[in-house]
Symmetry: C2
Subunit: 311 residues, 2 copies
């Protein structure tokens, strides 16, 4: 069984992929990193990981880095960690490393990424994962992992499988906390319940999360949007507990002046993850004619903000 | 009749008040300007007006400037031109210049300003006006009037009166285009149909007006908000022609990369005119239980943006 001693490919080794790939390599897995802008730097310096779960270094002689997927070995397991805005690159990047039983585990945000991979490479090999982690690249070839780190993984079908358990075991044996989701889409929508209001409003208004919650009108706004996300999830067959609204607001209040990834994307003139985080959730509601005006307005606003970044 | 040779007070001589006051003085009216930050500069230099209707200078010896309303003469007519966000200053500023038949004409934006003045000084003396003008202070004591200039004025009651005609005549005799509105609130709501989407979205998203109209989703967003404004106006007893939506969008497209006053307020860390332009129009809809979710969400967002400016 290839997952007993797998060859692992990290497709898009940004901060997230670099961190998890490095943890796996640190614990003996055969990991191959596909890099773009960071290739030369990591090739020369290896990876330096500063982590709340323990610092470590992967020196250059102990790391397999690549700038061309055609030079990579076939993988047993590929972690897909590029931004969903670059999904159009994936067929070209993944095709060379695929063999019959290669598993593709996407750790990307939002909806539609599993479906995209299934369309191109077959549904049987696709798994989904949700990463809860605070992570940044703070310097070339240097990753700062400041908090959390849990990954929740699931099959596209409702039933967990032995291969899912093997991957979870591999992660947990590599100092990566990993849980199995009974229903992947439940996990995706629970994360969207946070991402849509907080990533969305912070990017649209150019405000840190504390400012969104600083006034009763701000809290009402976040609440309205979350209620729309619950409506959209229901249209997609997923029931979200309304009590999660309060939980998420409290949790976010404790995060202080936090910059969401979409807010940083706006500030750094990078494309927003519009499709995965906003358009497809909205479409789920529209497919069932459920009105979600707060979500819809937010999406419209983000297209304006995003269009400016990508004229 | 005092309006035949009136003493005119300009309460809050920013760009707007300075321009119209200077035009009236240029044509022989007895105008007294109440200034704050610009007092010393105008006292020393007079006012320099660069205008699409003709440049002129009011030299220091021909201009009456004041920094204290208690030193001003009683006025026959006062033009109220301070920002509505400073309305709490008005009782103190206006009381000293009032006599029995003083008329207060507010040229402020949005809703609620006439009612505020009526509450403090009696409804009988209050008129409303709407200025359509592109005007800026470009240097100390220097006003740049780049386009338009029409003022539309009306009584709070539906019926135009002789005093309204006298003021219109005075304006028109002073190179200020002035029209009489049969219904003041019709004019207010027609201007709000533009101000609410364009001032609101430009300030919330920090985008010039051309970016709001650069995509189909942006145009749909502006249209949704305008439809909510029509709903709110109807709740307030005013019928707005839906064809005005298209007219306003076309007109705005021709304005290019325009910075609305609220957008500039955000960028310069000044308070937004939240009450007059957004909260009171929204309240009109709420009073009649008419749902206007796009307008409501915009208002909520602006409170967040504004709260940051005024912590």
């Amino acid at each position: 069984m290839p997952l007993d001693n797998p060859t692992i490919a990290i497709i898009g080794a940004g901060a997230l992929g670099s961190y998890y790939g490095a943890r796996l390599a640190q614990h003996g897995a055969n990991v191959h990193f596909l890099l773009r802008s960071e290739y030369a730097s990591v090739k020369q310096n290896g990876l330096t990981i500063k982590s709340c779960r323990g610092d470590f270094i992967l020196p250059p002689e102990k790391i397999n880095v690549h700038d061309d997927p055609n030079k990579m070995p076939k993988a047993d397991l590929a972690l897909i960690t590029i931004k969903s805005t670059a999904n159009d690159q994936l067929p070209r990047l993944i095709a060379p490393i695929i063999k019959e039983d290669t598993i593709l585990l996407t750790l990307q945000n939002g909806l539609g990424n599993e479906a995209f991979l299934a369309r191109h490479f077959g549904q049987h090999r696709v798994l989904g994962g949700i990463a809860f982690v605070c992570i940044n690249r703070t310097a070339p070839a240097t990753i700062d992992h400041s908090a959390h780190g849990l990954i929740r993984i699931g099959e596209l079908t409702a039933t967990p499988t032995p291969r899912l358990q093997k991957i979870a075991d591999l992660m947990n044996a590599s100092n990566i906390q990993c849980e199995i989701l009974p229903t992947l889409m439940q996990g995706r929508w629970e994360k969207l319940l946070w991402n849509i209001p907080f990533n969305g409003l912070s990017a649209a208004l150019d405000q840190t999360t504390d400012r969104l919650l600083a006034s009763p009108t701000g809290i009402a706004l976040v609440t309205h949007i979350m209620q729309d996300v619950i409506t959209a999830a229901a249209a997609d067959g997923i029931t979200l507990d309304p009590a999660l609204i309060q939980t998420n607001i409290e949790k976010t209040r404790n995060m202080g002046a936090y910059y969401t990834s979409s807010h940083i994307d706006r500030q750094q003139n990078r494309p927003l993850e519009l499709q995965a985080l906003f358009a497809l959730p909205l479409q789920a509601a529209k497919n069932k004619n459920r009105p979600t005006p707060w979500l819809e307005m937010l999406y419209h606003q983000l297209t304006i903000v995003d269009a400016k970044q990508n004229p």
